[in-house]
């Protein structure tokens, strides 16, 4: 089955077109040197619209996590460029990148999302505190209420269930109103009910507050929560779907041989 592929023709413009939150051009990432070198990303051009919920999918080892790390400024690319809005990430020094992460990017990971020594409330406000800013208390209450965490704020991570821990991580990611929230298999460790809850929360933050979310996942039914699915294979873009359903995603993946 053939899948329509969105290609970005020619040289990308230097500045981000309005409405694009994150963008990569010619992104390459090579691990190791010489004969053992692994090309995790082999030239990726991709853009994520502001206010969109995108899922990145692909077979294991296709470079999904690597792409996300490079987009989020967690890792440096071997070649190519990444823009967050108008800011070019590639070439930023570590401190600038760090400051940018805590103010303009939110993260939700599969596991080990929270600092075990801090109660939920502190975990949620941590990036803002690191940036030296105070969360707007109305917004804090709003986020906490939407994620159903009001009763749990004083608990430490080990006193929370896996789903609750992920919700705390989402609250933390949403609180600074970042340009984009990156989530790497956020439901990977959860049962289907908690997983659905988390995904519903991510989607509603996109719908209700215009948050941009980019999520890596293996699960076609998780991808169905997104507006758009970007497919990756062997470090290259291998197609994309808009308004996906679990079935269309599954078909697309089969087409990639996954």
């Amino acid at each position: 089955m053939s899948v329509p592929v969105m290609t970005v023709p020619g040289e990308p413009p230097a500045a981000a077109p309005a409405g694009v939150a994150v963008r990569a051009a010619g992104l390459r990432k090579t691990y190791g040197k010489g004969e053992t070198a692994v090309q995790a990303l082999a030239g990726v051009d991709v853009a994520f619209a502001r206010g969109g919920f995108t899922a990145i999918m692909g077979p294991s080892g296709s470079g999904k996590s690597t792409l996300m790390h490079c987009l989020a400024g967690l890792d440096t690319a071997t070649a190519g460029q990444v823009w967050l809005g108008d800011t070019e990430l590639t070439g930023l020094r570590d401190d600038a990148l760090t400051a940018l992460r805590r103010q303009r990017i939110g993260f939700v990971f599969q596991a080990f999302n929270l600092l075990p020594v801090l109660p939920a409330r502190e975990n949620i406000v941590l990036p803002m505190q690191l940036a030296g800013s105070r969360p707007d208390s109305g917004w804090f209450d709003d986020v906490v209420a939407r994620l159903g965490l009001r009763e749990r704020l004083g608990h430490r991570p080990h006193e929370l269930s896996g789903g609750q821990q992920q919700r705390v991580a989402i609250a933390r990611a949403l609180l600074p109103r970042p340009d984009v929230v990156f989530a790497d298999e956020p439901t990977g460790n959860l049962d289907s009910r908690s997983g659905a809850e988390v995904l519903g929360l991510l989607r509603s933050s996109v719908r209700e507050t215009g948050q941009t979310v980019v999520m890596v996942t293996h699960d076609p039914s998780a991808a169905a929560y997104a507006d758009r699915v970007v497919l990756l294979a062997d470090g290259r873009l291998a197609g994309e779907l808009t308004d996906p359903t679990a079935e269309t995603v599954l078909d697309a993946l089969r087409g990639l041989g996954a």
Binding site: H69, L74, D75, D94, T98, A111, F112, L115, L130
Partner: protein
């Protein structure tokens, strides 16, 4: 299992560095102590026993009977080649170009070459009367003519001269620095006052053995009250006498060695606990694939054994090297501990390796037991994120209190009774209790300090305080190691300060004058006071009149007259030497007894010269210590004894270091010798200063020794942090991903180190300070008035040094942590 063990050791070698270092330092310290002790012993034996090396036998009198007649008896024996009687006496000798006379201890030189043991630096031994060889301490040169004052049996002075023929090398003899020694012929020694030989040294005839000579001599002198030993036996005895103090020093050093070993044990136990905690999954996997709990435990203990053995061996070698270094550095100088060369007794490295290996093994026991409790399933479970909760440890609490409370009780009794022998066991008991309870007490304090730090240091400090308390047991063990070192150091610092203050007060009371200038013949020229007052370094002076009065018993007695205000200003203390005002007489105890008067009684004193018609005067008696003279007001003495003249000048010197004060005393001696040859200058100030210096040196040594324990403990702090960094790789990655800069991450670890080290330092100083005061109070309580002194500056320095060193200990781990890539959080 062996291949697994070796693979583990190789893989974790870097992480074992800290415990290895701790063992190396502790073992090195113990071995160096033992080697230095053996070296001192053989050095002393060589020096003190030198005179007996050539002697087959030595005869000493047991009942004080003269040995003179025995010389001929012994010389007549077949197995005896020669007999040298040893005469001893002492003289006052003046060296040309040096003012004043010095004390010289005189020994006779054997006539027979075999019994001459003296090594010469220069020149030769004397051959006849009028010749003398001296030790370096006499500071004379070959060819100098000494003016010698000796005393005959009746105590009459005899003046003579002697030419220096050689300088004797006494290096290694611990007493060489005390006073000058002179070596003369036996005849000369007798002329200078020696009466009987103190011992007879006997040389063997060719072919005769020492033991044969000894038994022949013993048989020949059978009826006499003498002791006959072989030369070797006598040498051992002499060295043993001399080394009594050195043994005490060794004991003290070994106590500090024990402290170092205990602290190292804590650090090692910690390292192993953390290493194993990190390997929980690895060990569980081993269990999954079929290793029994026993095999796992054996593997862990084997690892400890190999680590202990290897690092103890390195430590033993390092200890011997250290001892060699110390011996080389100290050997030449006039050191209080005699050291020459290096003697390594077989037991020193053996003891070091044994202690080091054993401690490592014991320290690994508890972690090894914990490791065997790892369930095979742990390999399959995701990493536990929950902070560790240690069990309350009721046993530890009860045991700690059982040690602490009676210990405190004993110390209280010791202080009240002023008996250190009661307080000391109390101190040891309670300290063991403190160490046990620290496990429980330290974490809450760290948490409290962390809350405070969190307010000051922002997010990194708050995270650090959380981290520092998440594994209470590990934090407590790390802090306890440092706590022990800091507690003992501050106990010594505070104890020494109080000892010094008390000693100073006591010495000032006992020797209130810095320098006393006194005329032998009685009278001093009046102009001397002005000259002395003008001498550099002299702060105040008081002239003291010497005259005489007639007591109520009708006997004339000498008396001194002082101006109370003037004299008080020149004295360090008037506690013992009570100065009389008008109408008062300070009467020494013995005289008060003779006169049969007590404090507050009235006594009538008449003129000193029975011929002169002087009206009797009434005085109120103030009884003072027996070693003082009778003191009156100067004007009143003049009224009773019109011919009273300047008899003494009391001088108070400006405060400065002993060398400077010694110079001032020398200057005064010169000034006085010029003005009036018949005077004596007594500089008590130098004695006080010397006691001070000894205390200072002692304190320095002790602080240095305890420093070893503190250094080991700080390695532990760095170690714990390094392991935490490894453990928290993911977490640190997460923090970096969420926006913690590298600098902030380094700050986080620095805060953690400062919290642990700072709390240990502050607690240690508080506890140690209390111990120091208790110790001083109980030791000095026997001696009388105690002056407690807390050296705030030193204490602040201890806290600062421990905290800053803790901070430094965090530098390497922090650098490693800062390299954590943000992706580490996800790439678990």
């Amino acid at each position: 299992m062996r291949s697994v063990l070796l693979a583990q050791l190789r893989a974790h070698a870097a992480r074992l560095v800290a415990s290895t270092l701790a063992i190396v330092i502790a073992v090195g310290f113990v071995v160096a102590t033992l080697v230095l002790n053996a070296t001192a012993r053989s050095t002393v034996l060589a020096a003190v026993g030198a005179q007996y090396v050539g002697a087959a036998a030595v005869v000493t009198s047991t009942e004080g009977t003269s040995l003179v007649d025995d010389v001929d008896t012994l010389t007549g024996l077949d197995s005896v080649a020669a007999v040298a009687p040893s005469y001893e006496t002492s003289v006052q000798a003046g060296v040309p170009g040096r003012g004043g006379a010095q004390y010289l201890f005189v020994e006779s030189v054997a006539d027979d070459a075999a019994l001459r043991w003296q090594r010469m630096t220069e020149g030769t031994l004397p051959d006849g009367p009028g010749e003398v060889a001296v030790s370096e301490r006499a500071r004379a040169e070959v060819g100098d003519v000494l003016t010698v004052t000796s005393f005959d049996e009746t105590g009459a002075e005899i003046a003579s001269e002697a030419t220096v023929t050689g300088i004797v090398d006494l290096s290694g003899d611990p007493q060489a620095g005390l006073y000058g020694r002179a070596f003369v012929t036996p005849d000369q020694a007798r002329q200078w006052g020696a009466v009987d030989p103190v011992e007879l040294r006997v040389a063997a005839a060719p072919g005769a053995g020492d033991e044969q000579v000894r038994s022949d001599a013993a048989t020949a002198l059978g009826a006499r009250q003498v002791e006959v030993l072989t030369g070797a036996e006598r040498a051992d005895e002499a060295a043993a006498n001399m080394l009594g103090n050195a043994m005490a020093l060794t004991a003290v050093l070994l106590v500090f060695g024990t402290v170092a070993v205990v602290v190292a044990g804590l650090v090692i136990a910690n390292t192993f606990a953390v290493l194993l905690a990190q390997r929980t999954r690895e060990l569980a996997l081993l269990r999954c694939v079929g290793a029994t709990a026993r095999q796992v435990r054996r593997g862990v203990l084997g690892e400890a054994l190999v680590t202990g053995l290897v690092s103890s061996a390195i430590g033993a070698a390092a200890g011997i090297g250290l001892a060699a270094l110390v011996s080389a550095l100290v050997g030449g100088a006039e050191a209080p501990i005699p050291l020459a060369g290096l003697s390594v007794p077989w037991y020193a490295p053996l003891a070091g390796v044994l202690v080091g290996t054993l401690v490592t093994f014991l320290a690994a026991l508890a972690p090894a037991r914990a490791a065997t409790r790892v369930a095979p399933l742990a390999a399959l479970r995701p990493v536990d994120q929950a902070p560790l909760r240690s069990r309350p440890g009721v046993l530890r609490l009860v045991l700690g209190l059982l040690l602490l409370l009676p210990g405190i009780g004993l110390m209280a009794v010791g202080v009240t009774a002023g008996d250190v022998l009661i307080a000391l066991p109390g101190g040891v008991l309670s300290f063991l209790g403190v160490v046990l309870l620290a496990q429980r007490g330290v974490p809450p304090v760290v948490a409290a300090a962390g809350r405070l730090a969190g307010r000051l240091g922002g997010v990194p400090a708050r995270l650090a305080s959380g981290n520092a308390t998440r594994n209470p047991r590990r934090t407590a063990a790390t802090a306890t190691a440092l706590l022990i070192g800091v507690t003992l150091t501050s106990a010594f610092v505070v104890g020494a300060a109080s000892t010094r203050a008390t000693a100073q007060a006591g010495l000032a009371a006992e020797f209130p004058t810095d320098v006393v200038v006194e005329g032998f013949a009685g009278e001093l020229p009046a102009s001397l006071v002005g000259t002395l007052t003008g001498t550099e370094g002299v702060e105040r002076s008081a002239s003291v009149l010497a005259g005489s009065v007639t007591g109520p018993d009708g006997e004339p007695t000498g008396a001194f007259g002082v101006d109370r205000a003037e004299a008080a200003a020149a004295l360090r203390s008037t506690e013992d030497l009570v100065l009389p005002g008008a109408g008062e007489a300070s009467v020494p105890e013995w005289l008060a007894e003779v006169w049969d008067v007590g404090d507050g009684d009235r006594v009538a004193l008449g003129g000193g010269d029975p011929g002169a018609q002087v009206p009797v005067r009434e005085f109120t008696v103030r009884v003072i210590d027996a070693d003082n003279p009778l003191l009156l007001d100067a004007d009143e003495l003049r009224a009773l004894s019109p011919d009273a003249a300047l008899g003494q000048v009391w001088l108070r010197l400006a405060d400065s270091d002993p060398e400077r004060q010694l110079e001032v005393v020398d200057r005064i001696t010169d000034v006085v010798a010029e003005a009036s040859p018949e005077t004596q200058v007594t500089g008590l100030v130098t004695m006080r200063a010397e006691i001070d210096e000894i205390l200072d040196a002692l304190l320095l040594v002790v602080t240095g020794l305890l420093g070893v324990a503190v250094v080991i403990a700080l390695i532990g702090v760095g170690n714990t942090l390094a392991l935490s960094v490894v453990e928290r790789r993911q977490e640190n990655g997460l923090l970096r991903a969420l926006g913690l800069t590298r600098g902030q991450l380094r700050g986080l670890l620095a805060w953690e180190a400062v919290l642990v080290a700072g709390v240990a330092a502050v607690l240690g100083v508080l506890i140690g300070g209390a111990y120091g005061l208790i110790g001083a109070a109980s030791v000095l309580g026997e001696l009388g008035t105690i002056v407690l002194d807390v050296p705030w500056v030193q204490i602040a320095v201890i806290v600062a040094v421990a905290t800053v060193a803790g901070l430094l200990a965090s530098v390497l781990p922090a650098r490693r942590a800062a390299r954590t890539a943000p992706v580490a959080a996800i790439a678990a």
